[in-house]
């Protein structure tokens, strides 16, 4: 079924279609909110509230974004609101903005050798997996959210921008910096 038909059925309150959409997207929405909030129960509450909001406003959905990015945007906004209410939203500090600030000289070459670690040399895949997930959950939320949406849940660039409510160019820059920040955090754990 194409998305236009899917949206038509959702607007018609077709129970089987809603059931299918919730089954298709709901678990990932809960997973996303859980990694953002660090608490499965609160995540379920946030997703429930968000989906109720989506259901109430489905008539206004015009298909300018994908359904998936619209759902993620609803949950993302609710999760950020929840974090801010509890003063738990971790903002970026200046060194997060550009993790490679000062790494290059005037000639554009590395000032210091890049730390040596690789799956072959110092770390096995299981340990790297655990480290990366642990460090993702410690990153400032602005980095964590974009990595979860892109790397974990597979949103493409356009969906990423829509889910976060930013331009495609901004999403691309933020994703690049978040990846650099995650690599830097993992590298610090290797030292």
């Amino acid at each position: 079924m194409d998305e236009t038909e899917l949206i038509r059925l959702l607007k018609a309150r077709d129970r089987a279609t809603w059931n299918q959409v919730l089954r298709d997207h709901g678990p990932r929405l809960v997973g996303y909110a859980t990694r953002m909030l660090g608490d499965r129960g609160r995540a379920e509450d946030v997703v429930q509230t968000s989906l109720m909001s989506v259901m109430r406003s489905i008539d206004r959905f015009e298909g300018r974004s994908s359904l998936r990015s619209w759902l993620f945007r609803a949950v993302h906004n609710a999760a950020i609101d929840e974090l801010r209410r509890g003063a738990r939203y971790v903002e970026l500090v200046s060194e997060d903005e550009d993790p490679l600030a000062g790494a290059f000289g005037a000639d554009g070459r590395w000032q210091q050798p890049v730390a040596a670690w690789s799956l072959d040399e110092r770390i096995d895949a299981h340990r790297l997996l655990a480290l990366v997930h642990d460090e993702m959950d410690r990153l400032p939320h602005a980095h964590r959210e974009i990595l979860l949406l892109r790397e974990t849940h597979g949103l493409d660039n356009a969906e990423l921008a829509e889910a976060l409510g930013v331009s495609a160019g901004n999403a691309r820059i933020r994703l690049h910096r978040a990846r650099q920040a995650l690599r830097a955090a993992v590298t610090r754990r290797m030292e």
Binding site: E44, L51, M52, M55, L128, E151, H176
Partner: protein, 90 residues
């Protein structure tokens, strides 16, 4: 002709990882990596970290979604409250 500045190469990493770079840019990128141990190391670390970040755990896709789903579907036939705005939920 390879990119000569490490800073320029590293700035392109995400476009390479996301397969958004054109063939010439990819060729220049990998030509630089062939000559530069630091950039090669950095690139392989980014590939490894990205791959691990994309590994989906049960926390990321929990199998039990019934409580939320049941609650939402219960309210499917509730009257729609207000109108206005476009494409904004939450």
């Amino acid at each position: 002709m390879p990119m000569s500045r490490c800073e320029d190469v590293i700035a392109r990493i995400s476009t390479i990882l996301d397969q958004e770079a054109g063939p010439v840019a990819r060729l220049r990128f990998h030509a630089h990596l062939a000559m530069c141990d630091d950039c090669r190391r950095y690139y392989h670390q980014m590939v490894a970290v990205r791959s691990a970040a994309g590994h989906v755990t049960p926390d990321d896709v929990p199998p039990d979604f019934d409580r939320v789903m049941g609650f939402v579907l219960e309210h499917l036939d509730d009257p729609a409250p207000d109108k206005g705005g476009e494409d904004k939920a939450g």
